[in-house]
């Protein structure tokens, strides 16, 4: 059975290395993007099975990216886990998500490894 793929979007290079190593160790393929625009390019190339998404990013914020994905017919069912260190940003996100369904998961940085892996497995039915 081919491995499921996870798109990791975060503007912190070390976070990308961390999450990709962690998820690969747990049997997933990973694709990384350091901003929302690159994230869109990657998703166009190949639709992932799940996305982890940071909120505070330059150029295209996580909120905007989230709304773009949820507004697209092809991508709107991809599970998305928000991973962020800024609770205010998340509150803004929650209040701005009119007519947009909530994320499939929300994890606060610094992440608890078991929490992240547990949520990923649950959303992917593993």
């Amino acid at each position: 059975m081919s491995k499921k793929s996870i798109l990791i979007i975060d503007d912190e290079p070390d976070t990308l290395i961390y999450f990709s190593t962690l998820l690969e160790d747990n049997g997933y393929n990973t694709i990384t993007a350091d901003n929302g625009e690159t994230g869109l390019e990657k998703i166009n190339e190949s639709i992932p099975d799940l996305i982890t998404l940071d909120i505070t990013m330059p150029e295209m914020s996580g909120v905007k990216y989230y709304r773009t994905i949820r507004g697209n017919e092809k991508w709107k069912t991809i599970p998305i886990i928000i991973i962020t260190g800024v609770s205010d940003e998340f509150q803004t996100f929650i209040s701005s998500r009119k007519q947009v369904p909530p994320p499939d998961g929300y994890i606060s940085k610094p992440v608890e490894v078991s929490e992240l892996i547990g949520l990923v497995k649950k959303l992917l039915g593993d």
Binding site: D11, E12, D14, I17, T21, P58, K109
Partner: protein, 476 residues
Amino acid sequence: MSFASIEAMDYESLKIPDALLFEEVPCYISLQDRSHSIIKANRRFKETFGDRLGEPCYKVYKLRDEKCEVCPMDSVFINGQIHESEEIVFSQEGFPINVIVNVAPVRDDSGNIVAIMEMATDITETKRLQKKLEESSEKYRTLYDEVPCYISVQDRNFRLVDVNKQFKDEFGGSPGEFCYKVYKKRDERCEVCPVAQVFEDGEFHSSEEIVTSKDGKPINMLVYTAPILDYNGNIVSVMEMSTNITNLMNTKTQMTLLGQLVSGLAHTIKGIVTGLEGGMYVVESGFRNSSDATVKKGWDMVQRNVERISHMVLDMLYFAKDRLPEKEEVRLDKFCHEIINLYEKKFKDNNIVTKLDIEELKPYLGDRKSLYTLILTLVENAIHACTWDKERQAHGIGIHLSEMDSSIKLEISDDGVGIAPDVKNKLFTTMYSSKGSGGSGFGLMIVKKIVDEHEGEISVESEQGHGAKFVVRLRR
């Protein structure tokens, strides 16, 4: 004397004995001859000054051995007119008594002035109350003028009726001028006027206003207005009492910025902790999978984030410390060249072309370490802005240093990602950095602090996607 009834009394024919009047009228009456000797006195006079007929008046109630220098009696003997004056006399116990003295001539049948009648009314209590009133007024005036707030009284036409000293010193303004002209610098009434509200409902009101001093300085005020009533309870004017809360507002802003700073710090620290935890995980993963490359990758992450937190702590300490610049003569042009050399490899590795326009300047008196840090930080930021920008493969950074009229201008520009408008407004007051850049987020705040310590100015021009230009001006 008796009367059948009040109605039956014939007031016209009523004869009141002169003796009764003379003795019982509530004032001091005496008659003096030309030698100032008292020849007759009424009961009240005798009770207060003693029965001292034949003695000179100045001895009896002025306690003097000789005539008063300005004697009202002499004037009457000369011109025959009634005189009035205010005097202080002394009772037989020596107590001073304030009196209003009326002196009139007493004539014989031939019309010659044979004596002087002196009638003195005791106004001691009146004087005492008058003095008390004056002291009270003075106290009130002092309080009114010296109280540390601005007080004005306006009439129904919004003209100033009275202002205290504080008000006058700060705003100018005189009674009769329109209040809105004096401290709002308006030609017409304010749309929402706290004074008008009081005239309408007779209640106390409070509000926050921004007014303008006579020097054109805006001042934040907390304003209280209250009605002033007449004896019938009608509102005749409104008192406006204002307190300067500009400093309080600034403190509020500072606290808000501090809150934002702390929030920014927390966010950055979370990122660093994630990096450290991530590094440790990757190292462990490398050991588990026997991959040296993975172990090295993880260890590099740990080192990077330790360095980040170390920089951040040093920057925080630098920022938090109040320090006076240690001034010495420094060559800003040499600093620019040194920093360019320092980053030569980084420019090359990131395809950044530098455009230099650096004048040779005379030494500038400033803090060596701070000024070096200032230039270094701005150049570093320019490099990051270029490396973030994925739109272009090649970028340019400009460094300009010049002087005109003792004003030094340092400009550092780039054609990188630029700065969003909402970020630009708080660039020097909140943490701002690209994550993973190794920056602490304090860079520009420190730059601003250094500029302020040298009494300079810093500004930024930028449009998102079109680079940025930082301009620092320093005066000699």
